[in-house]
Amino acid sequence: MSSDLAIEAQGLGKRYVLGERGRTPLRRNREEIWALRDATFRVERGRAVGVVGHNGAGKTTLLKILSRITVPTTGEARIRGSVGSLLEVGTGFHPELSGRDNVYLNGAMLGMRRREIKAKFDEIVAFAEVERFIDTPVKRYSSGMYVRLAFAVAAHLEPDILIVDEVLAVGDASFQRKCLGKMGEVSSEGRTVLFVSHNMAAIRSLTSKALWLDHGRIAADGTTADVVSEYLASTIDQEVSGVVDLSENASRQTVGKFTAQRVRFTSVSLLDADDRPVLAFGEETPLRVDMRFDVRTPVRFLELYVRVKTIDGQRLFTSFGGQLESTVEPGRYRTLCEIPENPLRPGRYAIELVARAADPEDIVPTALTFAVEAGHLEEENLRYVTRADGVIRVPSSWSALEPDDAPTGTLGDAARRVPARGS
């Protein structure tokens, strides 16, 4: 067994018995569920590994077993080095105690020594930006301050192996960036990190390897880039034909009781110039979204939106179809949204469909994903302007260089416009 492994798991499994305990002391007719099944994997020392998967796929169960909160039903895990786990920020925070007291209490709970906390105390408080309130009970803190202080304590843990569950989804955007920075530091310091998140951008930027858990089993184990794209591809039930059936779309949101009641999307496809469904197309091709929907009861003021996003969920732009003044009678409908100038640079994208009539009727966050392939415009461009520079291409033109002897803001008559290509 190599000592370069920080975590070695062999056939780990966890079975839960459903049903309310206490009501039926006799164990019969109990339904069993395997939250984790036969998980075998290795994590090398100093490696940051992401764990992805749907809700209920067993990610948290895995972390709980590795951090000894719960015991496995089968299998074995060997862990070399001290473990610090962060399944929640602010575990053990007591509202009546001051920020100072809570830093010590929470630190001790996460396995820090008093000496260690004392040495890092000022750093923790500065990171959390709560210097002025450190002797105030935390129940008087704003939720932002509370979360910042809680994360700051955790961020200063220095175990050999750090286990982190979805805890970065807290605080405001600027603090989230700060946390991500801190996490990046941790993984670059050569510490082993196991990181669960639904934020694919964070997984991609922080980890080099990833595990994908699906229904309690490891569905993929490899480089982050491969595993994440495999996982994302699986999240959409896409048919080969290019026409996506939306009647059972898993990403559909149920916002309140209004969604998916009177209007419901049934299918969506991207069409090429000859009205054939496609899943990938070149950059110059117009974007044509063909959507079909059912109207169940008459609807007035129907609004339809097509939203284009990156595969990580970043919204790029939204096309609004206008508000329909007249009542739409029950029946099946289709409409085509056409974007003649496709501004997307090569890469994978997702389409979100939204139907509203004062209140949301139906929202399908990931109705379909598609690829934009590099055409001659981009092939040239990509050498200079990478995807990291931006994913949207806007038409632009640059004038030829000329000596700067004219007053600022006025270009000489001789300025010839040279058409530029993309970006």
Partner: protein, 280 residues
């Protein structure tokens, strides 16, 4: 973290399904000793936060009970004690409250710490131990009141008063042993939460706290002697005030029960502990 520190910590932890007896985790408890101190200190600090009277509550509880007892038992019930009744009742009430608050708080401790138990690993027994340790502070405050009453009635402590801490520790062990069993049971069966305060109330009357052992009728003597708190309370009173006797049988029952509860409680707890995070 230096490379040296990293290699020093290269212990391999093996996680596998529990099978049979796997120790009661005293090693882990020692490793997390600072957490135990922090939890105890939290319990002390938080207990009387945002109360008007603060720590005076620790003194008021036995004091007011003593007044009620003096009126009801001494004056109306005409129970006579060899020493002034208020002192007689107050001294043992201080100890009784240490014991009964300890049992009450420990049996609710695990469920009260559910958010911790499901989110972080630490020796679960720390949350059971900390109320017993924190309770000592309350006991000491109440004991100051007892010392004041002794001075008021002109009672100098006898030589055996040096043994008082032993009886306090015995009461603490008894509460801890019960707490281990009850807190673990409470995780699965919340009935415990309702039963404990009620049983403790009955237990107070079955124990010679408000009356001397000599007042117990002959037909109840066996039951009285089998009560494991009898030896603790009588022994404590004998040590502190030199009143009454310590019966070897009573004391034996107390020490024996405390040991059985502690060891049995620890074993049961260690077994039940594995499922806490899943069941709580």
């Amino acid at each position: 973290m230096s490379a040296a520190a990293t290699t020093e910590k290269q212990q391999t932890l093996v996680i596998r399904p529990p099978s049979g007896f796997s120790g009661i985790g005293l090693g882990d408890l020692w490793r997390f000793r600072e957490l135990l101190l922090f939890l105890t200190w939290r319990d002390i600090k938080v207990r009387y936060k945002q109360t008007l009277l603060g720590a005076a509550w620790a003194v008021l509880q036995p004091f007011l009970t003593m007044i009620v007892f003096t009126v009801v038992i001494n004056h109306i019930g005409r129970v006579h004690t060899p020493i002034p009744y208020p002192l007689f009742a107050l001294s043992t009430l201080a100890l009784w409250y240490y014991f009964s608050n300890g049992v009450n708080l420990t049996s609710a401790s695990l469920v009260g710490s559910a958010p911790l138990i499901t989110k972080v690993y630490f020796p679960r027994v720390s949350v059971v131990l900390s109320p017993i340790l924190a309770g000592l502070v309350d006991f000491c405050l109440a004991f100051l009141l007892v010392a004041g009453a002794m001075a008021y009635y002109g009672f100098g402590p006898p030589l055996q008063a040096l043994l008082v801490p032993l009886f306090v520790v015995l009461a603490g062990f008894m509460a801890l042993g019960l707490g281990l069993v009850l807190s673990a049971l409470n995780v699965s069966y919340r009935d415990i939460r309702y039963a404990v305060p009620f049983v403790l109330q009955l237990w107070l009357w079955a124990t010679p706290v408000a009356y001397p052992g000599s007042a117990v009728p002959a037909r109840f003597q066996l039951l009285y002697k089998l009560n494991p708190m009898t030896g603790v309370v009588e022994g404590y009173r004998w040590a502190l005030l030199g009143s009454g006797h310590v019966h070897a049988l009573n004391l034996g029952v107390s020490i024996g029960t405390a040991l059985v509860l502690l060891v049995g409680g620890a074993l049961y707890f260690a077994r039940a502990e594995r499922a806490f995070a899943d069941v709580i």
